[in-house]
Amino acid sequence: MMPGQLFMIFVGILLLFLAIRKGFEPLLLVPIGFGGILANIPGAGLALPAVENAIFVADPAVLAALADTLGLTSWESPKELVHAYEMASPAVHHAAHQVAVGYGYSNGMLYNFYSVAIASGVAPLLIFMGVGAMTDFGPLLANPKTLFLGAAAQFGIFATVLGAVGLAATGQMDFTIAEAAAIGIIGGADGPTAIYVASKLAPDLLGAIAVAAYSYMALVPMIQPPIMKLLTTESERKIVMTQLRAVSKREKITFPIMVLVLVALVLPSAAPLLGMFCFGNLMRECGVVERLSDTAQNALINIVTIFLGLSVGSKLAADKFLDPKTLGILVLGVVAFGIGTAAGVLMAKLINLVSKQKINPLIGSAGVSAVPMAARVSNKVGLQSNPQNFLLMHAMGPNVAGVIGSAVAAGVMISMVSGM
């Protein structure tokens, strides 16, 4: 066993400890942590494709056949073969896979899970559908201007992108623009969005990005309150918001369709994420497909969560995860959360400058999403200043707006970066 693998097994156990004892987003971190341990079992190759498993065993005949397929005339270490395989065109990839299979090697279990669940993009989208089916847009519909809070909080994403390219420009880290964008999305505080973007833009960093996203979502009650208190006065925190109006069933049914049409008109690149989210929400609200909505919220999302978690765990393999970039990601991620929180709070204060109906700026922080944790934090901090002021429902508006905002940001980044 290499020390890196031993270390990563400890990291896996640490994630399990945080999930089980400290309650850090256990639905994801238990499978991720366990998958991380599995991925680092030396010699088992659970996270490797058939070709890398064949190279690991290093039978000379197999290595020669693979080198031939990969177009290497001479090579010094197996690592060179792995590198050539990773760089190969899809056709050569396919041919090398068939050579390895012909010699009796097969993809590791976690590698297959990753291919089917994440590389195809399907698992994060199905999670998003399930989340849509669990989301009540009522508070948002009752007070649509809270959408601006959800927009402002996305500043954390883009500020972090800038931070990452800054680190790269000053030579401290070696991030590409695609990697910087994938890291920024941690600031969206939305697990499936982060995984979806990372799988498209920076699959090698996916493990660290997903772990950072879910860990910081769990740490929201620690990260946000100091920033919220710093940026608000006691009297602002005491603002009592008017009772939300009742929202009709018809509005709730129309909303997801309207979002989808808007996506179709102005932002096609966000169509997969927002489309599935709205589809889940429409199933929830339309009232005629309750069995589908129920399945999307339970059996299906649970099944997908198991596979998604194990697949993310496969990206905790030591050789990919133990990289200076991981440290950079962890630091940038928490900065992203902080900036997003601040931007949300400041936007609420800005709205109060121009709007008659005052907003308690504490609900601005909920715009980072991290549903429903951030809304609960808004409520809790609010109660400290005014024990009669229940902000939870008010904070749910920016909270779900933050999900939409992050999905929009994700769409923009995926489409822009692929053109860069």
Binding site: V165, A169, S248, K249, T254, A401, G405, M416
Partner: protein, 80 residues
């Protein structure tokens, strides 16, 4: 190249935040318009939620009994 990277980051930031705000602003406008239309044309009986009512009709049990039974059901499930 380093310079370009920063430039790309700035591009991403301005276009990204711009799109986010434009999209969500359109959504605010759309939502307000939609709510107005819905409440103007189909206003009255919409607010109440029909289903839970329908089901409660089928359950003319007083609240205390209900609480006891729910607790029992909970306990029963916990055992399973």
């Amino acid at each position: 190249m380093q310079d370009t990277l920063v430039q790309q980051g700035l591009d991403l930031m301005f276009t990204g935040m711009g799109t986010v705000f434009v999209f969500l602003t359109l959504l605010v406008i759309g939502t307000l318009a939609m709510s107005t239309i819905v409440s103007r044309f189909f206003h009255v009986e919409e607010v109440e939620l029909p289903k839970p009512v329908a089901k409660e009709k089928a359950a003319p049990v007083n609240k205390k009994t209900l609480a006891v039974i729910q607790a029992a059901v909970h306990a029963h499930r916990a055992k399973k």
